[in-house]
């Protein structure tokens, strides 16, 4: 059974509104192997997975499952073929038991009633076979995240020749839980399960993967066997440059302005710890690191959106407020990663969205809104940020991603802004508009605003930052504040590898 090809995807093409996302990608997964899939953000990993799982239709190419050519048009099709995805966010039914979740949709019946004993036997067999033991009668919501993940895995093992796709499975797990998961993966592999493992973490690949497919810009770069594994080489493959040219090097600068925001020993149990840094007036401080390294959480804690357990945050020598509204009054702004859910009010107009955080400045006699000023504020934002179309009454949901982001920026610029916290400034924004967003951030910094940017896009991080911190597993792992650096340097630090030419601070 081991070594048999479970899934083969050949020459997969896919484009979204004219943009080629996958340009003839190949992928082959065998029974009993852990196959890692790596690539930068935007390399096409998640598109490929969604095509395999029947979420998106492919434009062209073929997929074979166990030697048979198949058409996968829905999640149900994929499930029937034994393909299962374990996502970062789990998809169990919280109020049902472990057993009910594992066999959901595959219940055994006797005379119209559930045959509990037969079902229990089946679950017990499954647990024994893969050596994954949980109380089948426990309600899922009472389990830890790692145990819930085990339930998801068991659920995907109810088919004959299972192929499990794991998408960044360790992102929400602690180190010990991750190790337990690796142990489970080992067991699954030895019992003939095929595993496609998507990750950004090189050390996990080194630990687990039998083979590795690297994607870049929607194309295969290489399939690497375990014996040929070399982290530096793989980083280079993902970034796509064998030798970095001078143009890819960016100079980091020690900040010259006075210290504005100062963070000391910020801790939040299980999320981040010992976060200490200073941000200076007029600099753009980039924060790099892998998804789940605690970057977003630090930003939110500074803004007052999440609590923290200990530590101190001061601005211009004074302790900052612990609530969002208090910090907004002091000149803080946050541009969240999930624009649509957290950045703006979709059905409201540009004018209302720009004014949203500024009604304290716009209220007139009797608490009524001074609509003349509201319009003026919006007109200013549209002019300064070049928001298109320039229609104040247009609902923001109807704008393009880039213009939506400009509206989000606009609501902070209307105030006396001191600190702007930006999480993934150009996620889902067209390449052409990205530069405009960068220039806005730069002009803000030039006027003395402290800009802190979290980004997973290395190119972006280098383009926009004057100084870069790299976070890893909830701590600041490295600071780049002088000299020329490249994407490789950041990725190496984010993966926890101490490159020889740099002196680590650990």
């Amino acid at each position: 059974m081991n070594g048999q090809v479970l899934l083969r995807a050949e020459n997969i093409h896919k484009s979204f509104s004219g943009v080629q996302v996958l340009k003839g990608v190949n992928l082959e997964i065998r029974a009993g192997e852990v196959h890692a899939l790596m690539g930068e953000n935007g390399a096409g990993k998640s598109t490929l997975i969604k095509i395999i799982m029947g979420v998106y239709p492919k434009d062209s190419g073929d997929i074979w499952v166990q030697g048979e050519k198949v058409e996968i048009n829905s999640r149900q099709d994929a499930q029937r073929l034994g393909l299962a995805v374990i996502y970062q966010e789990l998809s169990l039914i919280p109020t049902l038991t472990v057993m009910q979740n594992i066999l959901l949709g595959q219940e055994t019946q006797k005379a119209g009633l559930l045959d509990r004993r037969a079902m229990m036997r089946r679950v017990q067999e499954l647990m024994d076979r893969f050596d994954l033991h949980l109380d089948p009668n426990e309600v899922v919501e009472n389990l830890s995240i790692a145990q819930q993940q085990t339930v998801e895995i068991l659920k995907s093992l109810t088919v004959d020749a299972p192929l499990i796709i794991m998408d960044e499975p360790t992102a929400s797990l602690s180190a010990s839980e991750s190790e337990r998961l690796f142990d489970i993966i080992d067991r699954l592999r030895s019992r003939g399960v095929g595993i496609l493992y998507i990750t950004h973490r090189l050390e996990e690949v080194r630990l687990l993967a039998d083979r590795l497919t690297v994607l870049r810009d929607g194309e295969n770069v290489a399939v690497v066997e375990k014996k040929d594994y070399d982290p530096q080489k793989i980083i280079r493959m993902m970034i796509g440059k064998e030798i970095t040219t001078a143009a890819d090097r960016v100079e980091m600068k020690r900040p010259s302005g006075p210290v504005g925001l100062s963070v000391r020993n910020l801790c939040r149990k299980g999320v981040f710890r010992d976060i200490s840094f200073d941000a200076h007036h007029g600099e753009i401080l980039g924060i790099g690191g892998l998804v789940g390294s605690g970057r977003t959480e630090v930003l939110r804690a500074i803004f007052g959106a999440d609590r923290y357990d200990s530590g101190e945050i001061t601005f211009d020598g004074k302790k900052i407020a612990s609530t969002v509204s208090g910090n907004i009054l002091k000149g803080f702004g946050l541009i969240p990663e999930d624009r649509r859910a957290q950045g703006f009010i979709p059905l409201q107009s540009i004018r209302k969205n720009v004014a949203l955080t500024n009604y304290d400045l716009l209220s007139g006699a009797l608490g009524l809104i001074r609509s003349g000023q509201e319009s003026a504020m919006c007109d200013r934002a549209i002019r300064d940020l070049d928001i298109r179309p320039n229609l104040p009454s247009m609902p923001v949901i109807n704008l393009s991603g880039g213009n939506q982001q400009k509206v989000v920026v606009g609501k902070w610029m209307a105030r006396d802004l001191k600190v702007l916290l930006v999480d993934e400034p150009t996620a889902g924004i067209d390449v052409g508009v990205k530069e405009a967003i960068y220039q806005i951030l730069e002009s803000l910094a030039a006027s003395g605003v402290i800009v802190i940017v979290v980004s997973s896009d290395l190119q972006e991080l280098l383009r926009v930052s004057t100084r870069i911190l790299v976070m890893r597993e909830g701590r600041i792992f490295k600071e780049f504040c002088e000299g020329m650096i490249t994407q490789e340097d950041i990725l190496t630090a984010a993966s926890g590898i101490d490159s020889s030419m740099e002196v680590s601070d650990e």
Partner: protein, 335 residues
Amino acid sequence: MRQESVRRIISLCLLFLLIAVFGLTSSYFLAPKNIYAFLRDASVTGILTVGVSFVIITAGIDLSTGALTALCAMLMANFLYYQPGVPIPVLCIVSILVGILGGLLNGFVVTRLKLPDFIATLATQGIFRGLTMFFAIRESGRIRNQVIKNRAFLAFSGKFGFGLFYVTVVFAVMVIIGQLLLKKTKIGVYTYATGSNRKSADLSGIPADRIKRFAFVLSGFCCGLAAIFLLARTGAATVDLGTGLEFDVIAAVVVGGCAFSGGRGDVVGSMIGALFMAILTNGIYKYNLGSEYHVIIKGVVIIIMVLFDSVYQYWFRSRTRSADKRARNGKAVVE
């Protein structure tokens, strides 16, 4: 201990607390006759809670039960008045069929027309109530509350020799059937899945819309069944029969542990809730308090129970989470 068992114990404790308070303060309260009386009071509401429990577990709501029950009763009254020869079993079947049709309409509006349950059943409540008025028995143009004289039909409000009312037995049977359906069949598991996490229910190939339609149809069926006993007891079909009944039903279901967010609760819990509400009413009257107090207290009980459930769920969740965190911190030391 499991969250649901803890919740069950809590609602049982509330019930016994109530019984103890009224039992100790009123010598008459625990007399067999009064016990059968409040069991009867609990029964019509109780029959309806069986169907409504299903609807609420799918994270829905049914506001039309009172009006649909009235419509079923009014149609039976029509037969009794205009076609006295129709056999009683046929009448009962008509009532139940009309109830099922009403449930189908609710299910259609919610799952096919995609209206939110709340608005959909608020609208059908109006429709059912309007139809009840439309079918009201009139004499020279004016609505008349025709008293039912058919003894065979009125027998439905009767009791066994030792004092237990028939309707209570029907209630008990419905609870058993409902609980079996919920806990021992696929439909039951799917009902929880639909209400608890609709998205993953869909991904597991569960026909969630069909489950929702089934819940509404069951709720309608219960309306048709309850209408028979309600009509026999009141002895006349008025246009405002069963007004506010849905309120009692929802109060009972909430006390019993069904959460509006779906996926929680069961029929036995709702039965406890129905008993609780009936005993509360019974006790309030024993204290010679007017029905205005009764309505106010019901409203307060709903608020307290929903509030309690959310606080309690938060507490339960933070407990699991802190256990999670302890595991993490343990590792952080080793690192």
